[in-house]
């Protein structure tokens, strides 16, 4: 446990020095406050861009506060996920291609310790970024659209964060096996495949982690949670990813 803590400390130091711990949360905050702002000023933006057919703006109805928050989380599901995955793709692949993993492995450190320290560092970045982003978005939404239920919002953001963590963990696993860009491609690809499968067969695959995004939107807008299935399967998926990544690192260390 002490070793994991030391490695985690090193990872966090690296995230600070590469400014990752600053720029990822700042981007999440920008994305978060842009969504309510652009929704609020949409008629003005359309007017300024010209060529608006007459009568179109009369039909524009301001969406409710909860809907805007659900849309904001949707932004994190696309651009946010891309940023997080690109940030994690080199975490193990970079150590392998740079040769530092051997230096790390000659010390008496378990592969599981390395993998879990890396994962914990990514989780910290995710929590800081999502927390600040959602807080900014919620403040703007309350100012522009109306009051929000903070309890529902926290539950929804937590579920969405769990889905993002699934994509991050998958990329970490691929990063233990392939080069960075390939790991990012496969990580995003498998997350996209899961959500596609879920949108094609929503009733059969309602227990998969991909259902977390819909569940999160339902909690924020309607307040009904649904089952624990998606959260449990996401937890299992994350643990399997970490275990498999540790096994791959151990096997790569001893090529016999």
């Amino acid at each position: 446990m002490r070793k994991v803590w030391t490695l985690y400390h090193k990872e966090m130091l690296e995230a600070l020095r590469s400014y990752k711990l600053i720029w990822v949360p700042v981007v999440f905050m920008i994305l978060g406050i842009m969504q309510p702002l652009t929704t609020y000023y949409m008629p003005e933006i359309l007017k300024a861009s010209g060529n608006v057919p007459p009568g179109m703006l009369e039909g524009y109805e301001m969406p409710g506060a909860a809907v805007v928050m659900a849309q904001t989380l949707g932004q994190y599901g696309t651009i946010g996920m891309l940023i997080l995955v690109l940030g994690v793709m080199n975490s193990l692949a970079g150590e392998r291609s740079g040769g530092t993993i051997e230096m790390l492995m000659v010390k008496p450190v378990a592969p599981a310790a390395i993998v879990s320290a890396k994962w914990a560092a990514q989780l910290t970045t995710l929590i800081v970024a999502l927390g600040l982003g959602v807080a900014g978005a919620a403040y703007y939404t309350e100012q522009l659209m109306g009051p929000l239920s903070w309890g529902r919002l926290c539950a929804g953001a937590g579920l969405y964060g769990l889905w993002l963590l699934c994509a991050v963990s998958l990329t970490l696993l691929f990063s233990a096996w392939l080069r960075g860009p390939a790991a990012a491609f496969l990580g995003l690809g498998s997350a996209a495949a899961m959500s596609l499968a879920h949108s094609l067969l929503p009733s059969q695959l309602g227990w998969t982690p991909a259902a977390l995004t819909a569940q999160s939107a339902a909690i924020i807008t309607e307040g009904r949670g649904g089952t624990w299935g998606p959260a449990c399967s996401a937890g299992v998926l994350i643990v399997v990813c970490l275990a498999a990544a540790s096994l791959l690192i151990r096997r790569n260390k001893l090529p016999d």
Binding site: S18, Y19, K20, I22, W23, V26, V27, M29, I30, L31, I33, M34, L37, Y40, Y41, P43, E44, I83, L86, G87, N90, G94, G98, Y140, Q143, L144
Partner: protein, 63 residues
């Protein structure tokens, strides 16, 4: 929606500026980048959010 609420817009501009400035600091310290440095300076200053994200994700080379 009578007037534009500048009180809500300036934080967005500040965040964009912070992002570009962090990018420029990181660029000044970086030994190697993918592509010429002067190009990244232009992208960071004029590229808004996407420019900064592009620099942080693909612009830097690990030594």
């Amino acid at each position: 929606m009578d007037e534009i609420k500048w009180g809500l817009i300036w934080p967005l501009l500040v965040l964009q500026a912070v992002l570009a400035i962090i990018g420029l600091i990181s660029l000044a310290k970086a030994e190697r980048t993918r592509g010429p440095k002067w190009l990244w300076v232009i992208i960071l200053i004029f590229g808004n959010l996407l420019g900064s994200v592009a620099y942080f994700t693909i612009g830097r080379k690990e030594s």
